[in-house]
């Protein structure tokens, strides 16, 4: 619910004609921008959002930060693709636009869609990052589109120069159908509370039930709260996992290793003394409220660090048969949307199917939902 003024920098360069994100990169970007605008304005009515282009005719502010959602969405209509992206000028203009915001109490944030290759040196980007940090402007980078050597590194360098107390983030989005919207949906969760508005918006758009976790908060508030806590903490880990999964997208064995590592953790946690974990107090408190064993495991897993090494898959078969473990694994799978009620149904009906088939089902469900 942070009071924020956001400038969204759109990449409308020639590279956006490509169709590797369906229907085209530019369309996917537009959808993602719409999502973000909706989430921001919903999370706090005083939030303002502005839009500007970095390519095309030049760096141009389409709409200055305003809380009028109709105006914001309307300005994207009729945008043309062309030209080359000017990242540095774009960020500087965004900073200037934020500086002249009407309500000085709003936190400043810039969201950049980086789809074309970055022609700047790392040093230039870091200097810009430092300048942003000095003026306490947070920066979110969405790295998609052209995959070029050194692009992720340059953007990571920019992020680390800007980042102050994890207020800035980066998302690397691999190509695929609806990938951008999903990832910006995850991005919406970075704001904590505002993410739930995004969840409701996305779920409503998909024609699904409006409940966040398939659990009515009125009927069982403690369970809903405990689930929400574990989901929030899961997000950070999921982003890291999403990044890794993007690299290993076609390599199922690696994903399997990732999962087995998680399984190992889950096994270790249930076997070992819970004192080993730092925030067990929270987990225990929540566990005492929610008698659901699945929930307890999910909570414990989300509390642990995700830095464990990949190990052998020997115990995987043993554990696959156990439904409760599978449900928690599913919750942590990259690309799976835990809010999707159909995924929840899947978990409930799971009877130890082979891991690959289950993953296919999840992908199908995800695509159905979109």
């Amino acid at each position: 619910m942070v009071l924020e003024s956001t400038m969204i920098c759109i990449d409308n360069s020639e590279w956006m004609r490509n169709g590797d994100y369906s229907p085209s990169r530019f369309q996917a970007q537009t959808d993602a921008v719409n999502l973000i605008c909706g989430a921001k304005t919903q999370s706090n009515p005083e939030n303002t959002v502005g839009i500007m282009t970095m390519a095309g005719k030049g760096v141009r502010v389409l709409v200055t930060p305003t809380s009028d959602l109709g105006k914001i969405l309307g300005c994207m209509h009729g945008l043309e693709v062309g030209g080359e992206m000017n990242l540095t000028a774009g960020i500087q203009v965004a900073q200037l636009a934020l500086k002249h915001r009407q309500n000085k109490k709003q936190q400043q944030r810039i969201i950049v869609f980086a789809g074309s290759p970055i022609k700047y040196e790392k040093k230039t980007l870091e200097a810009i990052g430092r300048k942003l940090k000095k003026n306490s402007v947070a920066l979110d980078i969405i790295d998609f589109g052209e995959e070029e050597d050194g692009k992720p590194e340059k953007l990571e360098a920019l992020l680390s120069a800007v980042n102050n107390n994890s207020s800035s983030h980066i998302v690397h989005v691999p190509p695929g159908p609806n990938a951008l919207s999903d990832h910006t949906y995850i991005h919406g969760r970075w704001d904590g509370g505002s993410g739930f508005a995004a969840a409701a918006a996305a779920a409503a758009a998909g024609g699904m039930s409006g409940f966040d976790f398939g659990v009515d908060p009125n009927l069982d508030p403690e369970l809903a709260l405990a689930l929400r806590l574990s989901m929030e903490e899961e997000r950070a880990r999921q982003e890291a996992a999403a990044k890794k999964a993007a690299e290993d997208a076609t390599n199922k064995t690696s994903l399997g290793d990732d999962e087995s590592a998680l399984l190992q953790q889950a096994i270790a946690m249930s076997v070992d003394n819970p004192d080993a974990s730092q925030s067990t107090g929270i987990a225990d408190a929540n566990m005492s409220d929610a008698d659901d064993q699945d929930l307890a495991i999910a909570l414990q897993m989300s509390v642990e660090d995700s830095g464990k090494d990949l190990s052998a898959q020997t115990e995987m078969n043993k554990v696959l048969g156990d439904q409760s473990f599978m449900s928690s694994i599913l919750a942590s799978l990259p690309g799976v949307d835990p809010n999707d009620p159909s995924v929840k149904d899947l978990i409930a009906s799971l009877q130890g199917q082979p891991e690959d088939k289950k993953k296919e089902d999840n992908q199908d469900n995800k695509e159905e939902k979109q």
Binding site: K99, K131, K134, N135, N164
Partner: protein, 174 residues
């Protein structure tokens, strides 16, 4: 001489009149924030100080709960990283690093080592008669270090509406 010291004696530590909800500091390191240098209790703790983040400049904005007259200001900081060139702006809201050079400062000072040890800087009193908010711009530090550190900032002055005699605290003679 004695008249000067009488004026000095009637000055009060303006810490009580600072509007803490509006206090801001740009380019501060989040672990070492302005409160460490400004607030009673924190500033006296030698372990706590205000430190800059991305570079050595700092922009401190202090609003007051009522109108005050500012007489002098005291900075305490380490030898190398303590502030050197300091510019003060009265009643300028929401300044940024980009427009700090656009306005003429109400007063500016170059701090010496003595100042950093505890000698207050007497300001141009006439410029600070009607102060609602104060902006302090630390331009550089003594030793051109990467970051600037400030241990304490104390503002001396009087309030405009009333001067409650009970509130008068005797300050050290220098």
């Amino acid at each position: 001489m004695s008249i000067a010291s009488t004026i000095q004696r009637s000055q009060v530590d303006l810490q009580d009149f600072v509007d803490w909800s509006g206090v801001e500091c740009l380019n501060q390191n989040s672990g070492h924030s302005l409160i460490n240098a400004l607030k009673q209790g924190y500033r006296d703790d030698d372990g706590l100080h205000l430190e800059s983040d991305a570079d050595e400049q700092l922009l401190i904005y202090i609003p007051f709960t009522q109108v005050v007259k500012l007489h002098s200001i005291l900075f305490v900081g380490p030898e190398e990283e303590g502030p050197r060139t300091v510019k003060l702006f009265a009643n300028k809201e929401h300044m940024g690093f980009s427009n700090v050079n656009d306005y003429l400062p109400s007063d500016s000072a170059i701090l010496s080592e003595e100042n950093l040890k505890g000698k207050p800087i007497v300001l141009k009193y006439v410029k600070f008669q009607n102060v609602r908010s104060l902006t302090i711009f630390v331009e550089d530090n003594q030793g051109s270090a990467e970051t600037s550190k400030v241990q304490k900032i104390i503002l001396y002055g009087t309030t405009v509406e009333t001067t409650n005699v009970k509130d008068l605290k005797k300050i050290e003679e220098h």
